[in-house]
Amino acid sequence: MAVRIQEEMVWQLVTKKISIPFEQKGLIHKQKDIFIAFFRSGILGFGGGPSTIPLVKKEVVDIFKMMNDEEFSDVLSIGNTLPGPIATKMAGYIGYRVGGWLGLINALIATVLPTVVMMIILLASLNEFKDFDFVKGMTNGVVPIVAVMLGVLTWDFLKKSKKILGWKIGSIILIASFVAMILLGIHPGIVIAVLLVLALSLPIKKKEEKE
């Protein structure tokens, strides 16, 4: 009986039907996953850093399960309050959290290097690289797809806000953020920073304290 169960487990591992939880993987497997996750999201992220956000979420949360939803949205919100490119901030931090310093360097290299190398090779080898209509067309084909992915992610966050904060607080913050960021044009970093300060300084209700 025990042998059969073992056999079954081995078979399932081979067919990848169940994969080992990320934390229990060995060093090399972890780093391999980190590299694949950030390589794919970097090389598929047409339209700059922001378009890689839904891709990174897909890889890190859904496919490799390195983090849960909540941890990922923490990374995203802190990342948005700080200056600098969002894709590398996410890659570096997530790499560090799940794979130490090696993970940090690994994730950064996977995000940055392939596209930089492409850029250097294309521009350095082709002096007359002015006619890139085909490449432009390729980007045109991808932009609507990114819009869909961002839209789905937006919907996720709305649902989560309602679930966690409830209708009242959720919609107050939602409307306030909309007015501040979209109508008044206040920088998102500032809006998020204000919310973070509020979350830290407002008094805590007794019910929440018990939890």
Partner: protein
Amino acid sequence: MVYFQIFLAFFYPGILGYGGGPASIPLIEHEVVDKYDWMTTSEFSEVLALGNALPGPIATKMAGFIGYEVAGIPGALVALLATVGPSLVLMLILLNILYRYRNSPRVKRLSNFVLPAIAILLADMTFDFFNTSYNAIGLITTVLLIVGAYFALEKYKLHPAFVIMAGLVIGGFFL
């Protein structure tokens, strides 16, 4: 000496570029074109055009290429380090502090409070991408691609890689 200049030229845009990579582009242009005279404005915009057409974060593509143009591969590495390093260090420090106090009810509340703001931010980006697409390829094509992508991603649960590749092929040949 030139490495030090490269470092500074990309350090400022990296640390001042609020709003991610795209926000740092004008700052990079200021350093590269106006301050250090490494490129003309038209050269810069050509590099930017190609950079926008290729995948991946834009700030690091610009930094890597311009660093390479000015001082070879070491130049590219210095420019990348200056772009990525400072903001990443800040991020590590802040998130590590939060992680340490992650069981405090106030810190737990942090991630909840920002959810709606992130939703607005993402909605705004969604709209931006929709708008870019509308301006580039028109309403009907955009809507067709959006509907197709939605079904492929959400209904049939295809990996984004395949959907994006399909978009690349369709775009390359028809758009």
